[in-house]
């Protein structure tokens, strides 16, 4: 998906440049706003694209004078914004088990691979059942006990599994309410969950098990026109702005500032969302400046970390990540997925900033110093000759 944003946001920047329109202004004129049909015909809703663009411009201090560098170091800046449809129609199921001592276990096949899903799901359970998120145990990745889930992928889990977990927790809550009525407590009584089980079973025994399954509405695109009135349950939206320094003697690009902004709906855990934005942007930074599998007759010739370089700590630029105020009405407590949102804008933002700095347009990823240096020298009329 970042492959597409790379192309259309580089293209967008080239058009603005050619027409002499400020690139942010050009985007504002054309941005897709809520209530308008997207290319598939689906009417945009809960998609804070304009807000993401505005926040980027604000954080970049876009209207202020910009230092263009001096000597062999040229400075430039650029932005890129993108969006993506969520994977649909896909199903998630969850089970919430309230033990007789009131402690809670969530069973889910969403896999925590560092994105913090266990924490986010525990917060949803905790919100519904009025306990602290830290007290909820999450059992993940066990097909013997947890219900079906389509997969932890495509930034789908917060929305899909989040909704299933919320439904499961609400189911448990209504069963607890029913249990309270069964043991003779008047409606609306504040009760201790432990006491309910004791009253019902005569000792600390039993469980309340809530289940939830979620599948959003979806309409398949028409095979001839690709049109659909409901092509995605939610839109992922993210943008990146960068300032770069280009060393015109070596072709090296250094990102001196990076700002990532996304629409996460109403975030379940803002800190985790912001950290994800940083992580996604660092990954895309690698695809933009460093990473490239080299093949010789189908054989990868750089199949090791010695030769295939991912960003290290020293490659990570000063980075700020930010969320706009938004709500996904159909999401769990207004939340939506954010895993990929900060990968969208990084590559075109850097290529646009390089163009802004030195007037050279690169159309292939990764942007290697050699490619840029060759282009710079060619533009100066003293191309680097290939050795025969």
């Amino acid at each position: 998906m970042p492959q597409l944003v790379w192309a259309y946001e580089s293209h967008t920047d080239l058009i603005a440049r050619e027409l002499g329109i400020d690139p942010i202004e050009f985007r504002r004129k054309n941005i897709l706003r809520d209530g308008r049909p997207q290319a598939t015909g689906t009417i945009m809703k809960d998609a804070a694209i304009g807000k993401v663009l505005d926040r980027l411009a604000e954080r970049m201090n876009w209207s202020a004078p910009f230092d263009r560098g001096s000597g062999s170091i040229k400075r430039g800046r650029g932005i890129g914004i993108g969006f993506k449809a969520s994977i649909s129609p896909t199903t998630s199921g969850a089970i919430v088990n309230v033990n007789a001592d009131g402690s809670i276990v969530l069973y889910t096949n969403t896999i925590d691979m560092g994105q913090g899903s266990d924490t986010g799901m525990a917060q949803i359970v905790a919100e519904v059942l009025n306990v602290a998120a830290e007290s909820v145990k999450v059992v993940h990745g066990n097909t013997d006990v947890a219900p079906y889930d389509m997969g932890t992928l495509g930034s789908r889990s917060t929305f899909h599994m989040g909704n299933a977990v919320r439904l499961a927790a609400e189911d448990a809550r209504s069963k607890l309410t029913a249990l309270a009525a069964e043991v003779g407590l008047p409606a609306g009584t504040n009760y201790d969950v432990k006491e309910l089980f004791k009253k019902r079973y005569g000792m600390q025994a039993g469980n309340v098990v809530g289940t939830g399954t979620y599948i959003p509405r979806y309409a398949s695109p028409d095979p001839k026109t690709g049109q659909s009135d409901n092509v995605t349950p939610f839109w992922m939206i993210g943008g990146t702005g960068v300032e770069v320094e280009v060393d015109t003697e070596t072709g090296h690009v250094r990102v001196t500032r990076m700002i990532n902004v996304a629409d996460a709906g109403r975030p379940i855990n803002p800190k985790i969302c912001v950290t994800q934005l940083s992580g996604g942007a660092i990954m895309q930074l690698g695809f933009t400046l460093h990473e490239d599998m080299v093949f010789d007759s189908g054989q990868v010739t750089n199949a090791s970390f010695a030769d295939y370089k991912i960003p290290g700590f020293r490659d990570v630029p000063p980075m700020e990540s930010d969320l706009v105020t938004a709500t996904q009405e159909t999401g769990p407590f207004g939340a939506k997925g954010v895993g990929e949102s900060s990968t969208f804008g990084v590559s075109p933002a850097i290529a646009n900033a390089v163009h802004d700095a030195v007037g050279i347009r690169l159309t292939e990823l990764p942007i290697k110093p050699e490619t840029l240096l060759r282009a710079l020298r060619a533009a100066e009329g003293r191309p680097i000759e290939d050795e025969e």
Partner: protein, 404 residues
Amino acid sequence: MNQIGRSIPRLEARAKVTGRAEYVHNMRLPGMLHGKIFRSTVAHGRILGIDTSAARETEGVFAVVTGEDIRSVIPNPYFGPAFHDQPILALEKVHFVGEPVAVVLSHDPHIAEAAVQMIAADYEELPPVFDEVEAMTSKAIVHEVLKPAGTFADLKHLAGRKHTNVTLDYQLRRGDVEAGFAIADHVFEHIFRTGQVLHVPLESHASLAEPGHDSLTIHTSSQTPSFVRMEIARLLGWPENRVSVRVPFLGGGFGAKVYVKVEALAAALALIARRPVKIALTMEEQFYTIGKHATTFRIKSGVNKDGRITARACDVWWNGGAYADIGPRVAQKSGFTAAGPYDIEHVRIDSADLDASHAPFVHVDQEVSGRRQLAFEARQRIAAAAKAGRRATRLRRAATRLGV
């Protein structure tokens, strides 16, 4: 207390920083065998023979298993989320350099690894196709027949196809794109490309399969346990409740650990050996397992004098590699938004996922590198290159192919 909007630290953070979090790579079971993989050295070829005798005779080797041996436990050993196109170990043909061809099992991973070096395979080489644009019309066909899996609701429309590398083409038509260009004051067209990259989770793929009485438990580094269970049960012809899939924490996934990767291989080996078998890939082996699509994207826009975009046409080619994996979904889903987050009246999008001769999603080779460079530079540099002989001929050929 309100739990939503609380920036609490991750619940598993302490277990991770103190080294107590569980990962498949660290798991050991009594009697467990390690499987090491012998891989194809050609991009497209017919397997003439696999000589495993020296490996079998190596001291400490438990067994050597080839694609044909897999059929003893899984008669039809092809898997995949969109098409059932990927064999557990290569059968009859190999489709990319690095494709798994045979496995050595041993209690000692180092013995297994050393014995892999003693396996020799003979191939009759077939013409490969590496470039996604070339794959559209190439005479080199990666698969003779494509068999749709029918697993996912959004891919129900996938049809079986013959004599083509195109696994899915999505088209979008909104308004009248030619009319939109006609009313524009300016028309811009560019081509952009991305190379082949890797997801690079720092934890490589690992699966540990444990056979039980009429059952199988697979501990695996997967983002999709439900799919793994469904697919393994389908391959074995078992009900799902006889297969159990467990996933501890993952050391990153980024989409590299979705659907079936090494689970089917570990499962088949465990059933053949009747012992727990672990397949744990090295970092290098990730490069032969899954990557991110290389792409070519031609984009054309009409803009009026007020700076409003009147029309946009997009052609996207996704290089899916030797097995479709989930490429058809990527081509379709990305097709929805290929024109960008802009309000444009007239839009045309064509997005195609193509098979090619390298690891799933994988692409690019030196010779092709030259060609892809051409595609890029064709517009600006065709005149300048006219004097450069062979290069000019190649440039023109690429330009014709891309219609620029």
